[in-house]
Amino acid sequence: MTAEMAAPLGAPTLHRPDTLDEVCALLGSLDQAMVYGGGTAVQILIKQGVLFASDLVDLSLVPDLDGIERTDTGLRVGAMVSLRRMETDPVVRRIVPLAAQVYGHVANPRVRNTASVGGNLAHGDYRLDPPTALMVLGARVELRSSAGVRHVPVRDFFVGFQETAVAPGELVTAVEIPAQTGSSSGFAKLSSQSVNDWPCASAAALVTSPVQGQRELRLGLGALAEVPKYVSVDVPSDAGVADAVRLGQEAAGPVIDPIPDIRGGADFKRRLGLVAVEDAIRAAWGSTGGTETGAAGRSTGKEGSDARRNSRRRWWRSR
């Protein structure tokens, strides 16, 4: 008899608690419990036979997890807020426009209607779009367990391949996102198959307003290593966009370590990663009011490389 795959666990038991304390108690007592938020990712894992959980703890009946609150420093977003709401909510669009922009790039509108902010982060996939924005915005994740509450910066949240800082017994209850004030931002997502595919490379760029002759250029990278990556570099306020691109690429280069797959090899993804960095920086720079001198090098042309955005725009031209 040949060895087959380990027998899958039976269908996990669904729990539907209606208080956060009950959720924490369940997560603390069950052996292999998993939080069931929007459910989209979990259902796909079940469908593919790769969900290894004994129990699912459904958050949909727990009150107060789906609020978007204005705080002194920015926004506090409940774990069960849908990605679609992040994309479309006027408050989110005003306070953290980069986040709204990037949430609008995840999967498709139907998935965004269902998938939740907390679940999206806890899923821990290295290709996700939202972490790129949350990292450059300096967001932090609120984690709760029976033992209490703690906060982890999104920049430290992803600890390994599909592994996050969520400890056994904990769940994501909120994300706190500092307001995007005085900074400008851009996002680029590059795919290699259909336009709507998972990215081969994505980058969010944020440029702070000048302080003592320097701007901080922050970069969040998706799909370019086994976890979302964050780097930052100071750029002289009077630098041109070409300098910013060069500095950004120099900072990003060393952390890019792509996983080869059907969407492309590591070298290809590394190259694309640097293009995504350039495109994101150019988009960010374009709205800083900073000088364009030094931009004489390569032009992005009128198209840029965000194929999704370009297709949306260009498909209708000349009709």
Binding site: G264, F268, G301
Partner: protein, 779 residues
């Protein structure tokens, strides 16, 4: 024949009638096979092989049987005891068992079937089955398989179902189950001539999948000594024969019903889920249904991956004088209809050009992968990828514009194709002119725009319709002047119900909505070879036209009798029948009421349309009549290549097909456009990726299809009409025409934009970026 020479009666052909089922489709009220009410059925889930090539030792079903809700577990060995070699089915060779008997030949092959009350226990139990394998060496690569062992099959037995495949012979000790050769003139001599130029290349098209959004579905149940099947199939008549052979019962003891298909593109043909459903229902005396998941659908059939080694030679005057192609189709573990694909694409492997010296060898090769079968284009896109890339390079070698170079060499009306058959109703030049004009071929092009490079490309395609085939139609004209048409053509989105209604209505001066087409049901609708290969409009359309003409003749006779005038004096008009001599008039309802003396009666006619051929010579591949008619199409494209990301963006895609005569121009445009969008996927990203026989991207999260965001900025579908002398009102089919030259047109435009020839599909950003880097390094 009188009916063939009459002019159209009018009003229906050439009109943009709405699809007969338009509203039901939009509201979701149309019932596809799995939507139809059924008697209670057991759900069937199969346990699949985890080995690409292995002998089956034992199959342990004990734990599966213990799962609550499981009624039975059936293995291939058990079925073989009951059915013997009849268990092996297939349209070309009887090589495929519905459950592997003693040997598995691909990862994912069904080994045992669970019947259970409900899908969930069936799935659980299928996972509980354990199989003891003795591994055999697998062969994954088509060229290694050609070169020798291991052999996927020990012995081959032809199945003798179709007329065009009756020459197949049994074979052993080879993976090449069929070889077609085409020889004409002397290639070596022509290629050596003074001042000539030759280009050659190794091409590769990967396996792809059809991915119709409707999933495969078959239900079967026993009704006394009969077996009834409801299946999502393009080939109800074939399935009836195949299942009758399998069960050893008469044709009239098997009833196969199809339903409108939610797309198919060749995926739902011949033996898919039907043999398994049939033997389970028959042996277990129960009703069963099999619903494939998307992941399982990827394992049922694929498009052939194909390697082509090709060359093309022009003389000093820019005439193509020689062409070669060595084609190896990877047909996977079972031949399916691969031998026909091998022959039918081999005969056009040098393209739609006047070439006096050709040498083609086309082989169908087994490997340890899921079986490949028919897919929109039927193997021809793979050889077109070769000849349209070669002719483009040859034009450049000769310093001639690629469109103009083709124009000088294209086959024209009356020319004899390399296969030996004359051309008729195949206006390649008209298609080429139309698409090049549409994209502004001769207008200046802004080649550089930032990091974008812009280019234009063109390609032409040719395909021969499957010959010989058989179509039948039964037409009932109801007393109220509505009509009911019985045919076994399956509407799978191509709009055949609407087309056939228009053809019938034309002859009978009926209006939109007056002709209803009955869904294929072998108890009711007559034999039809297949709904595939773009053959229905011409073949079934001719049967329908003949039945409708016969109906008109009957009406004229009845009216002449009633009016007391000669038949030649009576005309059928939209208002009924009229005598030219005495101006008498009668409506169809009045006429039939008067004739039968009752309301609600029916007048019935039936007609057959069968095509014939001269079988091709097995040494030279030559035939003076290898096909009933030709398909001709052309594509021109303007696109940009982003030199930073390697991404191709299509700005304008112009596609043209010579359809003889457009019965319904709207539906023709949709076929031209839909095939083109599918072709864009094939050109740029669509492919099945295997790792040691295991599909790596067999879900729609990974297997990418063109979405609305992948559609070109602009698509111009162009209908070219050079009427076929024996087509119904001059018409031919169109479903495949524009997918055939689509990928090479895009590759030729990429070549134009960045100066690089890509011989391997798809043109992924990675391939393009890598090639650009090499180009830069070399420069």
């Amino acid at each position: 024949m009188l009916g063939e020479t009459r002019v159209a009666a009018g009003g229906a052909v050439g009109e943009r009638w709405a699809r007969t089922d338009a509203r039901a489709k939009v509201r979701g009220e149309l019932l596809y096979a799995a939507d139809q009410p059924l008697r209670p059925c057991l759900d069937v889930v199969v346990h699949r092989s985890t080995r690409p090539h292995a002998l089956i030792g034992s199959v342990d079903t004990e734990r599966a049987m213990a799962v609550d809700g499981v009624v039975a577990v059936v293995t291939g060995a058990q079925l073989y005891k009951l059915f013997g070699n009849a268990l092996m089915t297939g349209p070309a060779f009887s090589d495929q068992p519905c459950l592997a008997v003693d040997r598995v030949r691909y990862i994912g092959e069904p080994v045992a079937a669970v019947l259970a009350r409900g899908l969930a226990p069936a799935r659980t139990a299928a996972d509980e089955i354990e199989v003891d394998y003795t591994e055999l060496e697998p062969v994954h690569d088509v060229d290694l398989a050609v070169a020798g062992g291991p052999y996927v099959h020990d012995v081959l037995r032809p199945s003798v179902v179709f007329g065009d495949l009756k020459h197949l012979r049994g074979k052993r000790d080879t993976n090449v189950n069929y070889e077609y050769t085409l020889r004409r003139g002397d290639v070596a001599e022509a290629a050596a001539a003074e001042g000539g130029r030759t280009v050659h290349e190794e091409f590769w098209c990967p396996p792809t999948h059809h991915v119709p959004i409707e999933l495969p579905f078959t239900a079967a149940w026993r009704d006394g000594d009969r077996l009834e099947i409801l299946s999502a199939t393009q080939t109800p008549s074939y399935v009836r024969q195949s299942v009758a052979d399998l069960l050893g019962i008469p044709l009239n003891a098997v009833r196969v019903r199809s339903a409108p298909l939610g797309g198919s593109f060749g995926a739902k043909m011949y033996d898919r889920l039907e043999p398994l459903a049939a033997v389970l229902a028959w042996t277990q005396r129960t009703a069963v249904r099999i619903t494939a998941s998307r992941e399982e659908a990827f394992l049922l059939t694929t498009r052939h991956g194909a390697a082509v080694t090709g060359s093309m030679t022009a003389d000093k005057d820019g005439r193509i004088v020689a062409a070669t192609a060595d084609v190896r189709y990877d047909t996977g573990a079972y031949a399916d209809v691969g031998p026909r694909i091998t022959a039918k694409s081999g005969m056009v492997a040098t393209g739609p050009y006047r070439v006096e010296n050709v040498d083609v060898r086309s082989r169908c090769v087994y490997t340890n992968k899921p079986s490949a079968g028919p897919f929109r284009g039927f193997g021809v896109p793979q050889v077109t990828w070769s000849h349209e890339s070669l002719v483009d390079e040859l034009a450049r070698e000769c310093g001639v514009d690629p469109a103009e170079f083709r124009r000088r060499n294209l086959l024209r009306e009356g020319d004899v194709a390399p296969v030996g058959t004359p051309m008729h109703s195949a206006d390649f030049a008209g298609c080429l002119d139309a698409v090049t004009e549409a994209v502004g071929w001769d207008t200046p092009l802004q080649r550089e725009e930032g990091r974008l490079r812009r280019g234009r490309g063109v390609a032409v395609g040719v395909k021969a319709v499957l010959t010989p085939t058989i179509a039948n139609a039964v037409l009932q004209l109801n007393q109220d002047a509505s009509a009911t048409l019985l045919i076994s053509t399956v509407d799978m989105g191509q709009g055949s119900d609407t087309i056939m209604a228009q053809i019938a209505a034309e002859a009978l001066c009926l209006g939109e909505g007056q002709v209803r087409v009955v869904a294929a049901d072998t108890d009711v609708t007559p034999y039809d070879t297949i709904t595939a290969g773009s053959r229905s409009t011409y073949h079934t359309g001719n049967a329908v036209r003949r039945a409708a003409d016969a109906m008109r003749d009957k009406l004229l006779e009845l009216a002449a009798e009633r009016f007391g005038v000669a038949v030649t004096d009576v005309k059928l008009t939209g208002d009924g029948l009229v005598s030219a001599e005495n101006q008498q008039k009668v409506s169809i309802p009045e006429l039939l009421h008067g004739h039968f003396g009752a309301r609600g009666t029916t007048l019935t006619t039936e007609a057959n349309f069968t095509t014939s051929w001269v079988p091709y010579d097995h040494e030279t591949g030559q035939s003076e009549r290898v096909t009933e008619h030709w398909f001709a199409g052309a594509v021109a494209v303007q696109l940009t290549v982003d030199t930073a990301t390697g991404r191709v963006h299509v700005e304008h895609l112009a596609v043209a097909g010579d359809v003889g005569r457009a019965i319904n121009p709207k539906l023709v445009e949709q076929q031209l456009t839909g095939a083109a969008i599918m072709g864009v996927g094939h050109a740029l990203f669509d492919q099945m990726v295997f790792d040691e026989g295991q599909i790596v991207n067999g879900t729609l999260l990974d297997y990418q299809l063109p979405s609305v965001l992948d559609v070109p900025d602009k698509i111009t579908p162009i209908i070219v009409e050079s009427p076929h002398r024996s087509g119904p009102y001059g018409a031919k089919g169109v479903g495949e025409t524009t997918i055939i030259p689509l990928a090479p047109a895009i590759a030729n435009a990429v070549r134009d934009a960045i100066g690089i020839r890509f011989p391997r599909l798809p043109l992924t950003p990675e391939r393009i970026l890598t090639a650009l880097a090499e180009q830069e390094a070399g420069a």
